[in-house]
């Protein structure tokens, strides 16, 4: 069984729903505490969930990116292991330099919680379950600093918003590392894994953690 370490910082909010979503895919979810310099024994993949790590003091994700556990996440990623960062987790991965670019304040100048349609832009990463480019999936966003800023040519753009609401460069919703093993996205796949909640498209992303 795939063992997914779900990182928990003070101020993490989505660790439980992320763990539930991962378990729903048949994987095992274990907590990786921010102050530990190692990932839990036997970790196969890492999920950095959303929230307001360390109160988002200084800059979103800035303090978390320097937490002891992130050294272990970096080693895991450099060894080719899979890592997904969702929302605040995406911000942490950018702050840690594991993904290019940065997240800045939404063009709306407000927090936005809304179900969004996303287009698959790169179908060669593990994070879209083989859906062809151009396919549209539905996953909610909920953030205040969710506009990715960077050079789209320097990143593998995996998912794009259909509607340019937040002001991301090139409508970027999610990007992957050059090797494709590290993925960051602002939408919340863990909140789109249950038909009761309106969409199960989040599974397409989270399956990237498994196998």
């Amino acid at each position: 069984m795939t063992r997914v370490a779900v990182v928990r910082f003070p101020g993490s909010l989505d660790h439980e729903s992320a763990a539930r979503a991962v378990e729903g895919l048949g994987a095992e979810a274990v907590e990786a505490w921010h102050a530990q310099p190692e990932l839990p024994e036997g970790t196969d993949a890492v999920l950095i969930p959303g929230g307001f790590s360390y109160g988002d003091h200084l800059r979103c994700g800035a303090i978390a990116s320097r937490a002891p556990v992130m050294d272990a996440v970096r080693r895991h990623a450099e060894g080719g292991g899979r890592v997904v960062g969702i929302c605040n987790g995406f911000q942490v991965l950018c702050e840690a330099g594991l993904l290019p670019g940065a997240l800045r304040r939404n063009a709306t100048l407000s927090f936005v919680c809304r179900q969004m349609e996303l287009e698959v832009a790169d179908d060669a990463t593990p994070w879209t379950s083989g859906r062809p480019a151009g396919d549209v999936i539905s996953i909610p966003v909920k953030n205040n600093e969710g506009a990715w800023y960077g050079d789209p040519d320097a990143a593998r753009v995996v998912l794009r918003y259909r509607e340019d609401l937040l002001g991301s460069t090139d409508r970027v919703a999610g990007i992957a590392s050059a090797d494709g093993n590290v993925m960051g996205l602002m939408p919340h796949p863990e909140e789109a894994c249950d038909p009761l909640l309106g969409s199960t498209d989040g599974r397409l992303v989270l399956r990237g953690l498994i196998g």
Partner: protein, 725 residues
Amino acid sequence: MSTTDLPRHRQLGLTDDEAARIPELLGRAPTDPELVMFSLMWSEHCSYKHSRPLLGGFPVTGERVLQGPGENAGVVDVGDGIAVALKIESHNHPSAVEPFEGAATGVGGIVRDIIAMGARPIALLDSLRFGELTSARSRHLFTRSVAGIGHYGNCIGVPTVGGEVAFDDRYEESCLVNAMCVGVLAHDGLLRAAASGPGNALVLFGNRTGRDGIGGASVLASAELDEDEDKRPSVQVSDPFTERKLMDCCRELAAAGAFVALQDLGAAGLTSAASEMAAKGRVGLDIDLDLVPLREALAPAEILVSESQERMLAVVAPERLDEVVDTCRRWDLDATAIGRVTEGENLVARSGGEVVVDLPARLLADEAPVYEVPRVPAERPEPLDLAALPEPEDPAAAWRELLARPNVASKRWIYERYDHLVGANTIRRPGGDAAVVRLPGSERAIALTTDCAERLTEVAPRQGGRASVLEAARNLACTGARPIAATDCLNFPNPEKGSTGWRLAEAIAGMSDALLALGVPVVSGNVSLYNESATRAILPTPVVGMLGLLERADRSVGHGFGVDGDVILLVGDDGVLDGSEYARGSGGGQPDIDVEREVAAIELVLRAADDGMLVSAHDVSGGGLAVAVAESALADGVGAVVQLAEGRRVDEALFGEGGGRMMVTVRDDDAAAALMRMAPEDVLVRRIGTVGGDRVTVHVGDVEATLTLAEAGEAYERGLPEALA
């Protein structure tokens, strides 16, 4: 006159009679810290001294009630060993002074009330009232309050799933910010505030104590705002990050059984928390103020009444003290044993080795004076003069105009600023009748709503009280959820003036009529009085927060129309223009509410939902039937054609309000006939149309009003952003 010329007790907000009573109770003159403590605990905000005699009318018991009023929150059984805690509370005065921090700390306070019961907060709602948005001041208060609620709720990871807002000139100088929180817990995890076990440690944990919010409860929340401008710095400052850590930390410690008792520090800070824990447990507490972690140097009285946020007080057995302190440390929270539980009944506080406070805790917590408010009935205004209100020449244009009014229009501008999804349990999102939230670890779900009929409460308070409760129950029923418990927030002007005391008593009586008929107990609540300035008093606003239960989370009903050919039925009586949003006036001519019949209509809709007959259901409220039809059509982009009988004014048929109505849709005529057969004789059910198309049409006799979905949607979505632009 400046406050420094006043005697000390009056500066603190105590009357001369109250100040005279304190030495009689103590048998000596109070120390200065004691006098300050009395002034806070005997304030209206903490003691309900003007409202307590009236609150006894509420039904508070029932099979599901595990904890009724009097604790930090009410708790009800929802089956399978799971319980739900709920409470609503006002933060009106602070929000009028500093809307961002006022609203934010209002959310923080109510969340800690739920934590204190041993529960995990899973949902927030907010009931808001502001002046008309044509006022720059009201736009500021409204947008900053929404920002404060969003900031706090989003950061602590508790979804804000619902609520309501209304704009009326009567709130121009006294806005209302009521926050409701709901939490889940296992029956055997229920915690209470009563301290026990002499020798146990008293642990203060969370944020450090500073000078913020000193005197908030007495001088800010219990007096009219313009009595004294000097009161204005008494607003607290929020730190949601620490609140989240407190939540996580308390959940761990509560699950480990580390608490003997738990209490949050809210109004009147340590004074209130300690005196209530001691009084409820009939024990004493001995506190060393020198041990309280401070942000800045404070006098003993200031430490005792500081309203610094994000603090909790726990009673902990000595052998578990290290565990509690270690867990708090793991969460980067201060935790300090500041005292211990003692035999006797006295609350003792020491500073620099000297005893500065030594008095029976019950004098603070339970012996506040009680005042009977004058109950001067007010004349009901003349009915609205319909002859002076011409029928609209273009009913479709009037419909569109109504859809764009801030009181009717989509509240998307608000709820998209709130994380209403965090936790991945939100089944029915904001924008419908009630939010539906899955109960983690269960097949069940709960439905949540807040409602109030303040305009009717002003002109006919007993009717308004009934309407507030029944509207909440209809909103729950329209999701298929059976109402099981209520929490209330009674926002009223100065009860010592005019007819406010009478309106308060009548509204409570009306709410009780409806609650008894529904079989729904009030398990917690809050009173906020003195919501008025020298020139304006608020509409009396008895907000009802209601909890409903769905046996199956996957069986909830939405308000959006289904598919072409579905049949639309209207349950309930005709509405009237008098007192409606469309007519904007009077209310004196609204018919009295027949509680039994409205409850029977609610019961019918619940049975239909239980039987799986309903495709959709929507409460008919502000803006009347035409607005309800448009809302149901817009929800999923499916139109409808509705035919109403002639013989009435077109505007009354379209926009009339009241009548306890719900609009439901079913698959076909057979299902419609079956639902009609289920209806008791005195509940009116009419077939009024069919679902389908890309427009909404309402015929009243020969007159037709039609809007395309695009037109209706444009008006409905434009209203609020345009008013704020």
